[in-house]
Symmetry: C2
Subunit: 153 residues, 2 copies
DNA sequence: TATTGTTATACTCTATAACTATA
DNA sequence: TATAGTTATAGAGTATAACAATA
């Protein structure tokens, strides 16, 4: 059976856990991940593979697999599988890094760029539903606060 | 190999994905989950089992397994395994719901309540590190924004 | 008929170690 | 000696279907 959608019971809404930042983060992320995966499924992508494709398609990023792993908080061995899949489908290519021949730079193909554009639209539509209760100012504020947790420098 | 800690490469920090709310949510949650699990490990708990224990220990909540599943966004079959584990260790008990004999209410034992108190302290310490960059006002604001995504009513 | 808890199963994701080629 | 990518594997988490007891 699928994880039930819908709202939580009122008795639990007032529980101490419901005010816990980590719990709210986990629950919000679970909803976001589910919405993202189902929006990307028609394109043969999941949130994971979409993220790799998006970084490969970002001009000027030219990420190595190691950088992808660190940025996406994945193990390098998981990046291997994700890049394998995208490469098999002709969406990205591995190019040796001229400055370090151990490293592969992951670059998008023309086909990958086209799919990425569709995926951005699909992901944006899914986010729109998820953040329906937030206006542009709220979203910017939320992004700024989350960034300080996600990238503590 | 473990997922590498530390900061992300600068070239990717300016990528479009780095401004995506869903991505920031995912990365912040990954850090939060890792910190929580490692803080709770000495008590034999993980974030999952801690959440179930916390709701069972919340006075007035008296959640059924179904309510736990919905609130924590878990499949009911996963709740079975989590409650089995906590019950085996004498931390919670299943009690038949008087108003619906199909349902089990999950209630904390004295031993469970004692462990829960330790766990709250451990989790709070882990959160403190994670949210070191945020003051009380920031945290309250973040919680309010996340709640609107986590519980869209 | 529908729902709660349960069992079973398959699949995905996560974590760890070891190997190779380069640095 | 250390690092990038790769392979292999075990464990944790997720998704789905079916069943007994109860509503």
């Amino acid at each position: 059976m699928a994880i039930p959608e819908g709202t939580a019971p009122d008795a639990l809404a007032t529980a101490a856990l419901a005010d816990d930042l980590s719990f709210l983060l986990a629950r919000a992320n679970a909803l976001s991940l589910a919405a993202g995966n189902s929006a990307l499924a028609p394109l043969g992508l999941r949130v994971r593979s979409y993220s790799v494709l998006a970084l490969a398609a970002d001009d000027g990023a030219r990420p190595t697999q190691r950088e992808l792993a660190e940025f996406l908080r994945l193990d390098p061995s998981q990046v291997v599988a994700l890049v394998d899949d995208l490469q098999r489908r002709g969406l990205v290519e591995r190019r040796p890094d001229p400055s370090d021949r151990r490293a592969n730079v992951v670059v998008v193909t023309d086909e990958g760029r086209a799919l990425h554009q569709q995926a951005v639209a699909a992901a944006a539509a899914a986010e729109h539903d998820l953040h329906a209760g937030l206006d542009a100012h709220d979203r910017a504020q939320l992004a700024a606060l989350l960034r300080r947790i996600a990238f503590p420098d």
